[in-house]
Structure formats: C-alpha cells, structure tokens
Amino acid sequence: MRQRKIGEVILDVRNISLSFGGVKALQGISFDVREHEVRAIIGPNGAGKSSMLNCINGVYHPQEGEIVFRGEVRRDMDTHHAAESGIGRTFQNLALFKGMSVLDNIMTGRNLRMKTGILAQALHLGPARAEELREREFVEHVIDFLEIQAYRKTPVGRLPYGLQKRVDLGRALAAQPQVLLLDEPMAGMNLEEKQDMCRFVLDINDEFGTTIVLIEHDMGVVMDISDRVVVLDYGKKIGDGTPDEVRNDPEVIKAYLGVSH
C-alpha cells in the first residue's frame, strides 16, 4: 500500500489570467499544490489545461496573477528559472530531440548540472570526462527505472509512441525535479501502456517524493492516481477537491462529464 506524507504547499498559483490576442485562455485561475502529492488538472479539450502548465513553467507569460514556488513569489516564470528551481515537465505532443539517441535525450536532462567549459569539453580533460561519466551513471539509473535498457542507444525517432513518451518522462526525471508537470502523459496510449505509465508516475511519486501535476482528459486514470483534482472549463476553474468530491460536483458533471463523456 502507498503510505506517503503530503507536505506543505509547494506551488501556489494565484489568480492567473492569460490571453492570446483577444482570446482568453485562462481567467483568474488559482490553486495550490502540496509537496509530494499527485495533483491533476482536468477539463475538456480547449479548457486551458496546457496553457496552465505553460504558465507554471514559464513558456507563456500570463497577463495577470502570480506564481509562488517554494516561497518565492514571481509575477511570471521564465523557462530557465523554472527548470533551475526544480520544475520539470513532459509534453503532450512529443517534444523529444529526434536526432539523438535515448541516452542522449535523457542526458540533456542533466545539462543544468553540467558545468565544464568548452575548452575542457573539447580536450575531454579530466573534469569534463569525470562529469560526463558521473552523469551517465545517473542517467543509467533513470533508464533502469523506466525499463528502457534495451533502447539505450536507439535514436528516439525509431521507438514506438509509448516508449517515446517514456523517454520524455525520463528526460524530465533526469533533472531531478521537485515538481513534475505531466502534459497528458497517457494520451494516445493503449491500455497496457497506460497502466505502465500510471505505475511509473506513482513510482516516481513514491520513490523520489516528486510532487506531480498532471493534465489528462482520461477521467478514469486521473481519478485513480491523483490526490486532488482541479477542473477547468473554458479557461475558468469550476471545481477543486479530492477525486470523490470532484466526481460528485454538480457543476463538474454538467460541464465535463455530461457533455463529452
């Protein structure tokens, strides 16, 4: 059985509004994420889920609101700062580095921690080599964890979709994030792949205590694995609570369950 300690609020999203041109993608969204929990954001297509994630890790800059991460209040994030302070993410549409092997893709997740300079790299001097080998070993643990040993040196483009998703997860995991944002990690997968992915998500949460924020529109999966759920619809928050609370919320049922499922 899973026995975990849910901690204090680690990420607090306050009153975020985002618009593109005239289109309002998010309107005054607020929610918090506690340390070590699995937090889901659900909603029908176009509800603003991905936009929300993009605001959290600085890909988009909301016009209003602020983001508090580990006590640090920011008007908006920038991607690098987000990565540096421990926010990792995966992508809905695979955003792997197509020209690189599985190993190299995951190695890029360690780039933040690799500091040796160009000259040392070019000459493959002691520190550069030592750093490379050290990070390789770390990445091997990620590969082992995700059970993709057999594909280590395969170019990612040649892998089936489900495995590519796993590599994407591995790349984010390699950065040892405190909070991991998962953008529809199970989209486009078959049942078995979904189960595998669920297991990995829970294992990550268990083994490393990583806080997880995930977007899904597969309700079943979300309800099974998350501690608390935020429901978005047309850029507005319409529900927030435990899976059971959300499931029984009349407004959620009306806006989400009633319409598309």
């Binding site: 593109f20 890909v59 800059h61």
Partner: protein, 345 residues
C-alpha cells in the same frame, strides 16, 4: 505573447529619414540630390521586380526561393540569345519582331522551367523544414547557373529594347543644371508598374488569383475547401518564372546580360526582409527603400567615410542593403507589411 514594442521601429525609421535628409542639410545641390534619389528609385524598381518573384512563391508555398536570381539570369539569357538567333533560324527580322517572338518563347521556357522545378525539386520536399527548402533552392540556383550558361553561352549579351540610353535632361527650369534621367529607366519603371498592376488584377479578379490568396492565408483551410494545392503551386511558380523574365529583360537591357546578374539578384533578399515576406506592396516599397538607401549611402555617406578612415574606395552599396535588413530584423522580424507569427508549444 507580449505586444511588440514599436519604439525601435520608429527610431530606426527616424534614423533613416534623418539620413535621407542629411545631404540636403549639409548642403548638397538639390538637383544632384534629386538625381541620386531618382537613380536609387530606378534601381529599387529592379530590386522590386526580383523581390516580387520571391514574395509570390513564399506566400503560396512557404518556400524561400533563393533561385529567383538564377531564374532572372536564365530568362535574360534566353531572351537575349533567342532574339539573336531567331532571325538566323526562321528569318524573322531582327529587332523588335524578333524580340517579341523571343519574349513569347522565353516566357514559355520560363513557365516550363518553373513547372519542372516545382515538380521535381519542391514537390518531394513538401512539409520539410524551411531551411532545407532554402538549401534546395540554392541547389536549383547552382544548377540553373550552370545549365543556363551551358545552353545559352557565358559571354556578355545585350538586350536591345530599341530605347535610347541617352539621358534626358528634365526640370531644367526648376534646378540649376536640371536632372539627368535615362529614358530607359523610365520605361523600366513603367514596365514594372505595369507588371504590378497586372499581378494585382490577376490576384483580385481571377478565380485562380483568389484561390492563390486563400492558399497564402491558410494552407489547410484552402485545401479543406477543395483548392488543389499542387496546382496552385505550379501556377505560382509559373507566374514567378514570368516575373523573372520581365525582371531579366529590364535588368538585362540596362546592364547587359551576364553572370553577375544572378548575384545582383541577391539584393532582393534584403528587400523582402524589409517589406515582409508575404506582402506584394512590401516588395515594391522595400525595393524602393533599398534602392534609394543604397544609392544615397554610396554617394553621400561613402566619400566622407573613405576620407575619415582612409578607405581604399567606397562600395558601401555592397553591404548597405544587408546591414539595413539585419537591423530591421532585430526590431521588426516580420518586415514592414508581413504577418506576425506566434509560436505555440
């Protein structure tokens, strides 16, 4: 995306305007100044003609056709040599009749050539990275340069439009010494204007033209309402081929048909940057700005620079257009009239 700041654009514009006005303030004779200005405009018209070809193709297919310059050279060579050979072949009188027939034949050749390029080179590369497409057109450039010179010859040829190259003095009454204007240049400007009007009509009035515009606006949407993209692309390439012929004719008549024509066409690149890749008016105005800017810089900025730094001659026009385009890119990448793009994750 945060709204783009207009400050730098305005600043750049102000600097250019100041540069334009500076010679007058520093006491250049107005007549001379106007002469330079008109010379610049004339060169600009030629740039615009080449740039038009770029814009057409880019608008419809997203291909940055580096080979437009090579097509201009190829067209000019074809026109010049056909006009020279035809009298010997079929006994058509040299001069205007031969030239007319040569123009018709060259137009056919250019349309065919454009069609072949589209089919053989661009079609297999559909949906590729724009940089790959650019490189493919670089390949086309080299091929056409070699091919054109192989079949048409590699000397310097003339296109004689039968217009006197003698400059005419105009507005003598207004300025001391008047302004020297070449009649040829005027004709060129008229031809260019005519071509632009023709294209505008084509785009506004014909069904094909409207389809073309639809494609330019949104490929997928156009396809979904049943516009055959492949056919549109062929047409666009054909039109671009024709535009190249006109540009080649005008330019060849002015400067003679030679290999350097293809290189000069490189100048059209900064023009489209300035005007925006997708805007026909942009191509025209961009061409004029570059033409005028270049001439002004060469004539009025060059000598002081040479003196100041003891340079071995001027030649600012070699890079002026590019550096201007580069500055422009930094402050307004979409150009004067281009459309903005927002990258979504």
């Amino acid at each position: 995306m945060a709204a783009k700041k207009n400050g730098p654009v305005i600043a750049l514009g102000a600097v250019l305007a100041a540069g334009l006005a500076a010679p007058l303030v520093t006491g250049s004779p107005l007549g001379f100044y106007l002469e330079v200005l008109i010379g610049g405009l004339m060169a600009g018209v030629l740039y615009s003609l080449v740039a038009l070809g770029f814009v057409l193709i880019f608008k419809a297919s997203g291909v940055f056709n580096f080979a437009q310059g090579a097509m201009v050279l190829f067209a000019a060579l074809a026109l010049a040599r056909l006009a020279e050979w035809l009298p010997a072949w079929i006994g058509i009188p040299a001069g205007f009749p031969a030239l007319t027939l040569a123009f018709v034949l060259a137009a056919g050749i250019m349309v065919g050539l454009a069609w072949v390029i589209e089919r053989i080179v661009l079609r297999p590369l559909v949906a590729q990275d724009p940089v790959a497409l650019l490189m493919a057109t670089l390949g086309v450039t080299f091929f056409l340069d070699g091919f054109g010179q192989t079949i048409w010859g590699s000397d310097i040829y003339k296109i004689d439009l039968g217009i006197s190259k003698d400059p005419t003095m105009i507005l003598e009454s207004m300025f001391q010494g008047g302004i020297l204007v070449s009649k040829e240049d005027l004709i060129a400007a008229v031809i260019a204007a005519g071509l632009v009007i023709l294209l505008a009509l084509f785009f506004q009035k014909t069904a094909t033209g409207r389809a073309l515009r639809a494609v330019a606006d949104d490929h997928q949407a156009a396809q979904s309402i049943g516009i055959p993209l492949n056919r549109i692309w062929v047409i666009v390439w054909a039109v671009a081929g024709f535009v190249a012929l006109v540009a080649g004719m005008v330019w060849g008549a002015k400067l003679g048909v030679q290999f350097s024509l293809a290189q000069l066409a490189l100048k059209a690149l900064p023009v489209v940057i300035l005007g925006g890749f997708t805007s026909i008016p942009g191509a025209i105005i961009g061409g004029l700005i570059i033409g005028v800017g270049e001439k002004m810089a060469e004539v009025f900025l060059g000598p002081p620079l040479v003196k100041m730094w003891d340079l071995a001659g001027g030649g600012i026009e070699n890079w002026f257009a590019y550096v201007l385009a580069l500055l422009f890119l930094m402050v307004r990448p979409e150009g004067l009239f281009g459309e903005k793009h927002i990258d979504r994750v």
